[in-house]
Amino acid sequence: MCSTITPPDRVAGRGQGSRAVPAEAASEGEAAEPALIRLTMPPAAPAVGETVDLLLDVLDPAARGRAPRSSGRPRPSDELRLAVVEALTNILRHAGHPADRPLHLSAGRRGAMAWITIEDEGRPLPPALLDPARPLPGPPEPGAEMAESPGAGALLEALPEGGWGWVLIHASVDRVTHRRSGGVNRLRLERRLGP
């Protein structure tokens, strides 16, 4: 499944003279942050993995070909990967984004900080999801006694099989922002990369 890549409007930091501010950045009042990559993605689950791989490869080319860690903490780029995958999956499952319209993504760096934006045309993002303190799904204290015991069956069946997406997003990025205009949700995730 192919994503469509368009070249960035401006190339960051290459000294090519005047640098126009992308329209959407100017309207947000943020400093101009030219994207390293912009692309569209078909709104289907099988496209998510390769799309995120592509974004991360642009954001952190030093990670290319690096073996996964066998111990210790995951790398920052791996944590960002999880957050973006979760955000996309949530959009595909819950936002009501039209099936015949692509999602628009862009990504860039500002020094050590990597950012990714996702635009969808679904329902407004529920503000409660942006609260990092929102509780985990499922029973408040998963029982330690999951071994076979008379009550274990009910405990097991009550285990959630989802609902963790936003918990994982908040735990994996430094900042989540959202704005909506013109029927479009724009979600932005930021994460410091580096050693």
């Binding site: 998510v48 993995g49 860690r69 999956t89 076979e148 099989e161 989802g162 918990v167």
Partner: protein
């Protein structure tokens, strides 16, 4: 997607995919249920090839656990740091049996 070997009353189910995400999760659930009858009472789900698990993948792992009951016990093995982190953040490491099989 699943390779099964049974020895000494234990079945090791090796997941061959490297990415267990929303696209793959439904197939894991289906494949695991389809092959359940081949599995011994003790089941070890080997995730050594799995570099990435998201919440959908975790949901499939929980489903596998549920499918094993009654009559079977399921433990996860070969978790990478990335995968272990997802279980820890969701508190599901307290609920799913995880074998600590990392070399020191």
């Amino acid at each position: 997607m699943l390779q099964l070997t049974t020895e000494d009353g234990r079945t090791t189910v090796t997941l061959t995919a490297s990415r267990l995400d929303a696209a793959l999760a439904p197939f894991l659930k289906t494949a695991f249920e389809e092959r359940l009858a081949e599995m011994a009472a003790e089941v070890r789900l080997d995730l050594r090839h799995v570099a990435f698990v998201d919440s959908a993948g975790l949901g499939a792992l929980v489903r596998c656990r549920k499918l094993c009951r009654p009559g079977r016990r399921l433990a996860l093995a070969g978790l990478s740091p990335t995968v272990a982190r997802v279980l820890r953040l969701t508190r599901m490491d307290r609920v799913l049996d995880v074998l600590d099989d990392h070399p020191a």
